[in-house]
Amino acid sequence: MNLLSTNSVSVSLGHAQVLAGVDLEIASGEVVGLIGPNGAGKTTLLRAMAGLLPLDGGVIQLNCEPLHKIARKVLARTLAYLPQGGGSHWAVTVETLVTLGRLPHRSPWAAPSDADRAAVARALDACDVAQFGDRPITHLSGGERTRVLLARALAGEPKVLLADEPVAGLDPGHQLDVMATLRELAASGAGVVVVMHDLTLAARFCDRLALLFEKRIAAEGRPTTVLSADMLARCYGVRAYHGTANGNDIVVPLERTGAGGDHART
Amino acid sequence: MRSRVDVGRRGRPRSNRLRGAVIAAVMIAMTIRTMPAWAKPERIVSMNLCTDQLVMLLADRERIASVSYLAADPHASALAGDVAGVRINHGLAEEILPMKPDLVLAGAFTTRPTVFLLRRLGYLVVELPVAANLDDIRSNIRAVARAIGEPRRGEALIAAFDGKLPPQHPNSGPRPRAVLYWANGYTSGKDTLANAAVEAAGFRTLGSELGITGTSQLPLETLLAADPDVLIVGRERDGPALANETFRHPALRRAFATRPKVSVPDYLWVCGTPFVADAIARLSAVREAGRHEGRVGVADK
């Protein structure tokens, strides 16, 4: 059964249309990679799915219910959104920050319950940041901060996680860790949508990929099909090396083809 | 400049003479001995410069519990020299309550919270409006006199005040045009005591002619263009002040090099007291001098 679905969703920011008739479905237990060139509308689609943007047309459903009909609190308990390059405006401790992820679950005026604290501890652990618990977030490196913010999203134990470039700025080891964490979350029954640019990583950790190009989904399906040489040339304007290692696809962009990339940016 | 200060000093004996007349009138009134039966307040507190002076003119010193600190300021108060021995207040409830006043006199615009607090606590507070003309002076004297139970002294003071005023002569001779010019380039027009005093001395005022009500800024250009016959300035305060720069403007100095420039000390007319008559008398003298010399006036320098 589909957890989250968008049906011919159109979105405009100001006067410019950013998404035109996007259909995408996310089932529970799967990780869907959202890829595409800069400016294709990936972040907009993610924000629309988080209920942050009004739709020009179409409908987004969570558990077969239109998003705008779901109560804020219920939506917040079900869905977590990890903004791109998010940070903390105040120098709170890592644990305080991650505990914010429990806000939708807490009753008014109550201190965090044992369940809350356990969830926070699990999230800290899963993102390998438990050792920073009482450090101010401002004292961490960029990569550490990114993991702390993911831990915040995980602490809410969401059924749907929408993560906007969660591996940007991470070293290779922590990139693998974060993707593995997302897989674990999916394995527990959640649906995960993750925006990313590393095609090899996308091919390896995502069940399906959706390639967004010029306001629409240009291709959608298994990573091997979506990441075809033709598609990469058309949408990214690159020629890539395709290979396999240990049964995993490897896609490494090699050079510009000169066609699609420029087109995509106009 | 020195001479202008001297003009202010010369005013003192006159005001003393006036007070002498007042006291004489009061003595006469006292001898008649028809005091009304109402209880006269015995611990009067005044919180305002203007009520300070009126109460000092009208009440016996032992009935005055306190006057405001401004009453002792020689620049602002005509009776600064007589304050010694009277307790000074700064318009604060905490100072006034221990004096247990049976009458508090206040101005209509000053120390608002204190006035309301005292009223709330059941004290009798009489507020005096700001005097804007000579009639207001009379009604203010009457109001204070009535409040302190000295109506006869009040009438005597009013009579003395009226006696000092120059006779009304609407058609007697020319009415030269005067301009009031305060620090920072302000002038006064209708509904101000200074304007009323200048007019009572037989002048027209530029403020009234320009339709100014109250006190507002007068551009130097307007002043010079109007070509007034007499310049009346407030007394320059001691010490450097940007406010006084306007008086030193070369254009102003050149324009009034040969025309009379009169300065009237603040304490004579900042409040609606009988001392305004002294200010009027002084201005009237300037006008008369001008008439006799066939000019509009003489420089008092």
Binding site: R77, A130, D134 | E94, P113, G214, T215
Partner: protein
């Protein structure tokens, strides 16, 4: 699992120590406020005056002059501290202060207008009522200007617009003052003071201030969530538009009432949250109660200082807070610059 379970406990201990400490400080400052004044009244006499029934001069001074003054200091200080913390939290800017949403300036103008028209001379409550009317109009205009979204930027812009306009109108009223005495009185009032306020002022302003506090007190969690940014806060279940409404109306109620009875008192709402923020681990929600207590301490102490420094001719409270606040503000700017470099 390597998470140290005591971390959470240690952090939670932070505020429970701070809040009682601040509460004690409030109590001490409140007591000092009752003991200081131009009339020399001893500690024993003050206590007797508070408890005894008879209406003597001493009792009158303590109960009707000093007590309302101290109460207003407490209420207004808490208002400025709380609203400053809430605004800084919402705008995520340590330089925000209650005056920013335009309420102080419009309340000042409303009050000045009652001076100007002479209404202030007719009855004691004309002035604070005028201030509140001004605050109401100001907040409606700010809300209308700020539009329907919950964006902090539009709120700041609308607040600045209303503040400048109200300040200009206040200057105009000063220019057109009926006489120099009225102008002087307006100037004095604008400087902010608690001198000789009565219980009438307390009864009039306290309900509005408390109502404002209640609205602002509900903002703890949304402000915490806003630490993560607007998008994340919204997906944590907070309606930012509703949050902004509560913030603006809560601030308008309490700051409007405070300005109406005491004039504009600056810098408290800026300085207090900033000083206390590190002590509550930078958490916006924890900062709210701490900053309210801290604001009360600061205003009460400043009001005592005003009476000690110039016992007879009182220095204005707003002048003192600005005298202390401005150098602090400078220090703040310098430190911020150092952090950025």
């Amino acid at each position: 699992m390597t998470a140290d379970p005591t971390i959470a406990e240690r952090r939670r201990e932070g505020t429970p120590v701070l809040l009682p400490l601040l509460a004690v400080a409030v109590l001490a400052a409140f007591t000092a406020s009752l003991l200081v004044g131009p009339a020399a009244i001893g500690v024993r006499e003050t206590i007797d005056a508070l408890l005894a029934g008879e209406v003597e001069t001493t009792a009158l001074i303590v109960r009707e002059v000093r007590l309302p003054r101290a109460l207003l200091g407490l209420l207004i200080g808490a208002t400025l501290g709380l609203s400053g913390a809430a605004l800084q939290g919402f705008l995520r800017n340590p330089l925000a202060e209650p005056g920013l949403v335009g309420v102080s300036a419009s309340a000042s103008f409303g009050a000045v207008l009652t001076f100007h028209t002479g209404l202030a001379g007719l009855f004691a409550l004309a002035l604070p009522l005028g201030g509140m009317a001004g605050a109401c109009i100001g907040v409606v205009v700010v809300q209308a200007l700020a539009g329907r979204d919950g964006s902090p930027l539009t709120l700041i812009l609308a607040g600045i617009a209303v503040t400048s306009f109200a300040a200009a109108l206040t200057s105009l009223a000063l220019n057109l003052a009926p006489n120099p005495f009225a102008a002087l009185e307006i100037m004095f009032w604008l400087m902010g003071s608690l001198a000789d306020r009565s219980f009438e002022h307390v009864w009039l302003s306290a309900p509005f201030m408390v109502a404002g506090w209640l609205l602002l007190a509900t903002l703890g969690r949304p402000l915490d969530a806003l630490t993560l940014g607007e998008d994340a806060a919204q997906t944590l279940g907070f309606d930012l538009r509703a949050v902004r409404h509560r913030l603006v109306f809560g601030t308008a109620l309490c700051v409007g009432a405070a300005t109406s009875v005491a004039g504009a008192i600056g810098f408290v709402g800026l300085v207090v949250p900033h000083l206390l923020r590190p002590l509550v681990g930078h958490r916006p929600s924890a900062l709210l109660p701490a900053s309210a207590l801290g604001g009360a301490v600061l205003i009460l102490v400043a009001d005592v200082a005003v009476r000690l420094l110039s016992p007879s001719r009182e220095l204005k409270l707003g002048v003192l807070t600005a005298l202390v606040g401005a150098p602090f503000f400078l220090f703040l700017v310098l430190r911020l610059r150092k952090e950025l470099l």
